[in-house]
């Protein structure tokens, strides 16, 4: 555990304990406490990341893990957007009780910061379980039948993941005698027989692949995202499944790279699963009728790109995977928050009932165009650069078939998003959209901020690239 980053973990936890006592009589106070804590944390981490003095020294004065700092930034950003959005989304007549809702969000922010700052597998497992428990409760926070169904499926289909992680930890204790990332790297470098350690790391990897919803284990993802309470599905898709699954997959694939040729098959399978989920996610998203379900399949497809790059494992591919993780968090949050706005403004997010929404909800329409172009990888926006890095890394690493297929499925991504945009926002207004009204400006603010960030990440890409190279890629020992 990096102790200097402990404050990012403890302060949200303290707020989570404080909220039930402070907001006992005045429920609105829960909104304020949650938003203020997250804003303070975001400003604090931005000061480290965007300080001109640090940029001038090309980040050589930052001794912490650059990957962890970037992940903390994105955790706080997405969590702040979701809490700010939901403080206006939850009406006075809503069934959602604000106090446990914000308390759970703060606990899960704390658990996610724990995941990204921890230094050993056992602590990682504990924080992943804490995050899972808070997610079950958050999905079912509006106490609807759909939410409960999604939460139960999430519970039953991801619980086996923790069994695999536990068995992996047991075998790791037998073969390596330690759980800490650094000691495992040293043990790998000392040249012990690789088979047993690779087996135990692969078991842990399998657990985290189930948690991240990669193709053969993706059955829970669409149900959990569709059933979840609307802002919570943005939170889940934007950051929770990325941190609880994909982050650990990237971490383990960095370790597996140290085995060089001995862990070749694990890396090969990882790349195959990545490609499979790109294909299955993109093709299934083409024929969805419900917006949130389509976005869930799109999320599976985008996670496929990250897993594919992590399986490649070269420094450039890992850099692309991390950058795509950040970009995916931004544009998926925008799209899911827009689906929540549609639910608020038009009463439904079913594509068959909506049409011609661009007149009623122009801001929602334009922001989702920006987000979908970024997801599909259209040049000035951020998604283009991360996909370009991933495809160049794949081509360089010799996986030319995967590079070509990844490029082709990028076109399918554009296709299903264009179908979505046409059905919901263009065309003739339907009955549901005639009565629709744009949501209030405060609810548009997080979406617009995220869109500006997407554009900025794309336009100022050289600076972002130098940050990624100097703090992450240069410090991965390969």
């Amino acid at each position: 555990m990096t102790t200097s980053l402990l404050a990012y973990l403890l302060i949200p936890l303290f707020t989570a304990i404080l909220i039930p006592f402070a907001a006992k009589t005045r429920r609105k106070l829960a909104d304020v406490l949650a938003n203020v804590t997250l804003l303070a944390g975001l400003l604090n981490i931005s000061f480290i990341l965007f300080n001109p003095a640090n940029i001038a020294l090309s980040f050589s004065n930052i001794t912490e893990d650059g990957f962890a700092l970037l992940m903390i930034f994105i955790i706080y950003l997405v969590a702040l957007c979701v809490t700010f959005f939901s403080s206006y989304f939850i009406g006075d007549d809503s069934k959602v009780n604000r106090v446990p809702y914000y308390s759970l969000i703060m606990t899960s922010v704390s658990a996610m910061c724990g995941i990204v700052t921890t230094g050993d597998f056992f602590t990682l497992y504990i924080f992943v379980e804490v995050l899972a428990v808070t997610s079950f409760a958050l999905i079912a926070s509006d106490e609807s039948g759909k939410g409960l169904e999604g939460a139960i499926k999430y519970f039953l289909l991801t619980f086996p993941a923790s069994l695999f992680i536990l068995f992996g930890i047991a075998f790791l204790m037998l073969t390596a005698g330690t759980f800490s990332f650094e000691s495992i790297k040293i043990i790998i470098a000392s040249g012990i027989p690789a088979g047993a350690v690779v087996f135990s790391l692969s078991l842990i990897l399998l657990g985290f692949l189930i948690k991240s919803g990669v193709a053969p284990f993706h059955a829970w993802t669409p149900d959990a995202y569709e059933g979840a309470y609307a802002p919570v599905s943005a939170y889940l898709a934007g950051i929770v499944t990325k941190i609880s699954g994909v982050y650990a997959v990237i971490k383990i694939s960095i370790m597996l790279r140290l085995f060089e040729i001995k862990a070749y098959h694990t890396a090969e399978i990882l790349m195959f699963l990545g490609m499979l989920s790109i294909a299955i996610g993109a093709l299934a998203a083409l024929r969805q009728k419900e917006l949130k379900r389509m976005l869930a399949f799109s999320s599976i497809s985008q996670i496929g790109y990250i897993i594919l790059a992590a399986g490649m494992g070269t420094p450039l591919a890992i850099l692309g995977a991390i950058f795509h993780l950040v970009n995916h968090a931004t544009f998926k949050t925008v799209l899911f928050l827009n689906s929540a706005s549609l639910e608020k403004g038009a009463g439904t997010s079913d594509m068959r009932k909506l049409g011609g929404m661009e007149h009623a909800m122009p801001w929602t329409s334009w922001t989702s165009i920006v987000a979908l172009l970024a997801t599909a990888g259209v040049p000035p926006l951020s998604g283009f650069w991360s996909k370009l890095i991933i495809i160049i890394a794949l081509w360089d690493g010799g996986a030319k078939t995967y590079a070509v297929l990844a490029l082709l499925f990028s076109v399918v991504t554009l296709a299903y998003f264009m179908v979505m945009q046409k059905k919901i926002f263009f065309g003739n207004p339907t009955e549901a959209s005639r009565n629709a009204r744009e949501v209030r400006p405060a609810m548009l603010a997080p979406v617009v901020v995220m869109c500006l960030l997407i554009a900025a990440l794309g336009v100022f890409f050289p600076y972002i690239y130098s940050y990624l190279v100097e703090t992450i890629a240069a410090r991965i020992i390969l």
Binding site: E129, A170, E226, E290
Partner: protein
């Protein structure tokens, strides 16, 4: 002395597959939870057995106690979901969870 490590893992595998069988054949959500619990208990036995083998029992015990606490929390969350679902749908059948499809 009998090689207890291989005997341990024989029984751990047996318990694991007993839990898996329980999950596969039952339609009742509560029985599925019991199956999950049996499977995770086999994991805990695995950790203890490995600790005994490597002479690291103190660490293994510390891990086990933490894991038991975590599991209690997870299962409590799962059971609360089950109870709420029962209040809404009046059923604990796993096949009644079919409202979400696309």
């Amino acid at each position: 002395m009998i090689n207890s490590f291989s005997m341990d893992w024989y029984f751990i595998t047996l318990i694991f597959f007993a839990g898996m069988y329980c999950m596969l054949v039952s339609r009742n959500l509560l029985r599925q939870f019991i199956g999950l619990e049996i499977m995770s208990k086999s994991c805990l036995l695995g950790v203890i057995s490995v600790g005994a083998k490597t002479g690291n029992l103190a660490l293994a015990q510390a891990l086990i106690i933490t894991m038991i606490v975590i599991e209690v929390v997870v299962v409590a969350a799962g059971l609360s979901l089950l109870v709420k679902n029962y209040r809404i749908t009046n059923s604990v059948d796993i096949w009644s969870l079919n409202n979400l499809r696309g």
